[in-house]
Amino acid sequence: MNYSKPDLRTKLGSLELKNPVMTASGTFGYGKEFDSLLDLNLLGAIIVKGLSLKPRGGNPPPRIVETPCGMLNAIGLANIGVEAFIKDKLPWLKRLDTEIIVNIYGESIDEYGELANLLKDVDGVSAIEVNISCPNVDSGGMAFGTDPYVSARVTERVLKNTDRPVIVKLSPNVTDIRLVAKEVEGAGADALSLINTLTGMAIDIESRTPILANVSGGLSGPAIRPIALHMIYQVVKTVEIPVIGVGGIMNYRDALEFLIAGATAIQVGTANFVNPRVTIDIVEGIRRYCIEKGIAEMSELIGSLEIARD
């Protein structure tokens, strides 16, 4: 064991990352926008903006508003569509020395299957992350992720249509996230990522109208970190598969909280807007912490939370 060169590698099922730091979907575009600001090859993984079967323009503006220690977004899942991604964005991305994970969402279980199928055998895609926090048009717009049974069906359909590791991204807007986690694990997911954004809103007191055109949006940023952390802690105790922690991580100390709670890897989202180099700073911060604490590899850190028992 080399204590001056900690091994930061971590495994999500069959997928090995060189370090536990990933960029969260929707916050890093398709990667290239950040290319001149940091060395993307140093990242554990890049998760690209969520893709749908057909391109989507997104919601009318205003789509974002700042809130205390965070922001609300109602971007509306704007994306170029899976085919344009494969043709125009992936060729550049796959030359990078980092894992490229494609986030997908559909409006029906069938669409999830079709998307997975289109990505089958596509060179350069290391894994699929399934966004189930979007509305299911087949059930009046209720988010897939609010229903454990439906979440499991989506998971099964994706697994049936792909040979890549499947990560399911859970919604926190539920009564008990452990129920969804258990069902999705039972359906065969290779890993879970949580949390997606929390539903919130803001009102303009001069015009007495909602600030977001969509009325509500998803809250992200430091304000949600304690909620995310606790949900990750709960889910880690509930499932055997790897859990990827995401929600309000701004620096390496936040990231360490998630790893100690049991997250096998972490995603950084909103923080990229504040400090485009935050992911690299976090990798280095984790490395320094490990050297300082004499931690040689991630398995010594992940889930090392101690709870006193009286």
């Binding site: 916050t27 890093f28 575009g29 926008e33 323009g57 700042e66 977004n73 704007a78 990229n272």
Partner: protein, 267 residues
């Protein structure tokens, strides 16, 4: 595009609630084009969280640039307290700037309030040409004088909403008067505007009526400023190939026919 912690050279109030800040960065100065902006972290904490976008207002020598801002909320209130010698985290220059007018065209710059910022930089770039710079403010105590950056030899005309200085009325009255007095070929003029949305819309209407080329600098709430989060969307005109443009990357400068002006809201 550069991400730097740079030195604040000065930060002073130059009109009612309006501040001019000088910053040192040879790299940003070398890359900056008029119409571009920077994303600024007003403090170092997580609240307020997001960077604020500010147009680059002008350049001086090879290492100084300026931003102009009005104190309108928590972020700008914090920025107003920053001191000379402090360091500020700045990301930029960002966005698509103005396309310079053709050599035979007379540039007309129409600014509403703080919108004078990107247009001053544009005027600096075109200082050897005959420019008409029209500026509108609420009142005489809001008039922004940027001659401390550079004394430009431009024709400046002022309008105030309350008549306490210059023409009594909106700045678009000045444009209307100019267009009425100078009936020339459509292609002989080029309009550049920046200011409140109602003002931008009136300028666009006049440009469309007269068949005059017009570029407008828009604002929007922004999170990343890089074209990545897609938060700063503006509806594209119906014949465009995309449904939305992003103010930070496709703009902030938009030619007249690219944006759906009817839908554009105050942000």
């Amino acid at each position: 595009m550069i991400d730097q912690d740079i030195e604040i050279l000065f930060n002073r109030m130059i009109a009612s609630e309006t501040f001019l800040m000088g910053l040192r960065s040879p790299e940003i100065v070398a890359a900056a084009k008029p119409g571009q902006f920077v994303m600024v972290r007003v403090g170092y904490g997580v609240d307020p969280l997001l960077r604020r976008p500010f147009s680059i207002c002008g350049l001086k020598e090879d290492d100084q640039f300026f931003v102009l801002y009005r104190v309108v909320g928590r972020g700008t209130a914090i920025l107003a307290e920053r001191k000379e010698g402090d360091r500020l985290s700045v990301l930029g220059p960002l966005g698509k700037g103005f396309e310079l007018p053709k050599p035979h065209q007379i540039p007309l710059l129409i600014a509403g309030g703080i919108g004078v910022a990107p247009l001053f930089f544009l005027a600096q770039t075109m200082k050897t040409r005959d420019i008409e710079f029209m500026m509108g403010f609420g009142s005489s105590n809001e008039i922004i004088d940027l001659n401390k950056i550079e004394a430009l030899n431009t024709n400046v005309s002022i309008a105030t909403d309350d008549g306490t200085a210059g023409h009594y009325g909106p700045v678009t009255d000045l444009l209307e008067a100019y267009l009425n007095q100078h009936i020339t070929g459509k292609d002989s003029l080029s309009l550049f505007s920046c200011g409140p949305v109602p003002m931008l819309k009136r300028v666009v209407d006049m440009a469309l009526d007269g068949g005059i080329s017009c570029q407008s600098s828009l604002e929007a709430f922004m999170a990343c400023g890089l074209g990545s989060c897609q938060g700063c969307a503006v509806k594209a005109a119906s014949k465009e190939s995309r449904e939305y443009y992003h103010v930070c990357r496709d703009g902030p400068v938009f030619p007249i026919h690219s944006v759906d002006w009817k839908i554009l809201k105050v942000c």
